[in-house]
Amino acid sequence: MPFAASIDYAAIAPPLLAVGTALGVLVLDLFVPADRRGVALPVSLAGVVAAMVATGALAAGDDRSTFCTAAGGCSYAVDRFSLLFSGLFLLATAVVLLLSEPTVRAQRLPAGEYHFLLLVSLTGMITLAGSRDLLLLVLSLEVVTVPVFVLAGFRRADPRSSEAALKFFLISVLATAVLIFGASLVYGVTGSLQLDQVAAALARPRLRQPVTSAGIALVIVGFAFKVSAVPFHAWAPDTYQGAPLPVAAFLSVASKAAGFAGLLIVLLVGFRGYADVWGPMLAVIAALTMTVGNLVALRQRYVIRLLAWSSVAQAGYMLVPLGVAASAYGRARVLDDAAAATLGYVVFYAAMTLGAFACVVWVAGDRPRNAVADYRGLARRSPLVALALAFFLACLAGLPPGLAGLFAKVVVFSAAVRGEVVWLGVVMAVNTVVALFYYLRLAALLFAPEDRGSAGVPAVEPPDGPASRPVAVAIAVAVVVTVVLSLDPELVLHITPLAGRG
């Protein structure tokens, strides 16, 4: 008879700290006077840092698992993979918290609730990265997502904000329904929700039925929505534009990373045996995603939408390594390395995109419209921010001096080539060129001479509040992290996260 093992509280310390902080901020908010609401930020940051410390401490130790059943298989794991992702989520959240300061301050958003929701979402991300169980995955994903619905609509008086929330909500709910239906199929076929056991069951040839593949495909769709892969991406640009800027940053970085965490977990732990089924599927999705993302990004005139479409395209790049499963050689030999490439790319992407968003937040301080034209001559107004933004754009384009982006692309290309899906590499190559166009156009605009009186364009958008020191700190953090990653990409590359399971 299976029984529950005792709970390993150390293993779940980071999410506990996060959720504790969330509750703390919420409660604190009730008791501090209105003019001291600013205290939510330091408290949240402290909680995040504490969780980081806990994560670091866990990283120093061995891998561990908890919530196991006697039949083998555990629902929650603490390993390199989950720790790396946890660290990523924590850092990203910290930066987003910093970025939120002007928004929260200037638009008089309810600070306690704002930070609470952000931290709850963070909690969901951390548990998501540790989940090795379909049920926990689905629930964690919901915990990640539901608070962000609210955050997206947080500028409650702004119809665009509520529209953003509505769109995000609807598409997300549909994707969740699809995901749950898929999970039910997988459960029905394999008899288990734990991914280890799912993998074991899927290894049996008799289970090889179209319905199994369909279940897997539906589960993947659930995460593909989250990473905004085409054709499940359409919510992203609209939502990014309507949501408060820091929330958009959170969506495009942390939330997307969470989607990738989930995707990697289900694919590599649970569905590894069906790599021949999902491999081609992901390869096609990857090709489609980057192509559509880049092509549409070409035409954007709002920086935030440009970043949104770029993040769609970047998701395509991140999916490329998983596409190696499309070839027999690829899934047999290099799948784990390829997954490491995805993981590495996610980390690089997070750093550079956060940086770009941080700069956008800075600029939005006095040009809230976020139109591309507002960036003309930024180098004259704020040279350092312009340099930083140019650097991040170069990173996103994968062009030196943005070595981080370059390495990210190199590992992805390398995975594609080694996995013998060269066609995907070629598609990506062409896409890289297309992408360069819009990144560079923006970057060049920063240094172009300022236009006659573009500063005088009236602000029709609600202001995000003047740039502040926390934003500067955020930019600095992003720059430092990205530069470090540029010089020593070894830090995150080639961590083979989920190898040897299933």
């Binding site: 609730e113 709850v120 629930l139 288990s192 319905v211």
Partner: protein, 199 residues
């Protein structure tokens, strides 16, 4: 016996399986309830009256709860009745009222997307139904030996699904807080938002 053992050979084929689509009494009741649920569902998505739709939804969800009962999942069935019929539908009705949905028939409830929707729905049903039937055409549920009941379910939750339970509670709390924040524009703001963006 763990599910893995059950799966040892193949897709499970229980001992006393009658032929494909053979009938037994439980099945007849189930099919009736299922048809009821589906019919109510059809009305939910086609009726021209928002309030009617909510009521038909109650019928559909209730029928599904009946199906759960037949499947020996009593706990799920009662939760379904309580939460869905009791809470969700009421919530939806409130929503309909608060948004001043037209009480009574309205031609404006459907969008221009209906043909695509029909196509997608038929294709979905075809695909999913086809795949499911294809995969489980001979599968037979042995209702007599199925574990279940409220006690077992509750035990399972607190023995094996502690973490999901806790996560779910966080989710509910977040949803609660979020819903409150969104519905009450006065929260957090010291004064009503100025006229820069909206009222």
């Amino acid at each position: 016996m763990s599910p893995a053992d059950l799966l040892a050979g193949a897709l499970p084929v229980p001992r006393t399986a009658p032929g494909f689509l053979g009938w037994d009494p439980q099945e007849a009741v189930f099919v009736a309830l299922a048809l009821l649920a589906l019919a109510a569902g059809v009305l939910v998505v086609t009726t021209r009256n928002v309030i009617h739709a909510a009521l038909w939804l109650v019928v559909a969800l209730g029928a599904v709860a009946g199906c759960y009962l037949l499947l020996t999942a009593e706990f799920v069935a009662w939760v379904q009745v309580l939460i869905y019929v009791g809470a969700v539908v009421v919530l939806l009705l409130f929503g309909a009222m608060l948004t001043r949905a037209p009480i009574g028939r309205s031609a404006d409830l459907d969008s221009a997307n209906r043909p695509a929707a029909l196509l997608a729905a038929v294709a979905t049903f075809g695909a999913l139904g086809g795949l499911l039937v294809d995969g489980f055409r001979a599968a037979y549920v042995d209702l007599d030996t199925a574990p279940g009941g409220p006690a077992a379910t509750g035990g399972a939750i607190f023995r094996y699904f502690v973490l999901p339970f806790e996560v779910a509670s966080v989710l509910l709390l977040a949803a609660l807080v979020g819903a409150i924040v969104l519905s009450r524009p006065d929260i957090g703001a010291d004064r009503p938002p100025d006229g820069r963006g909206a009222p």
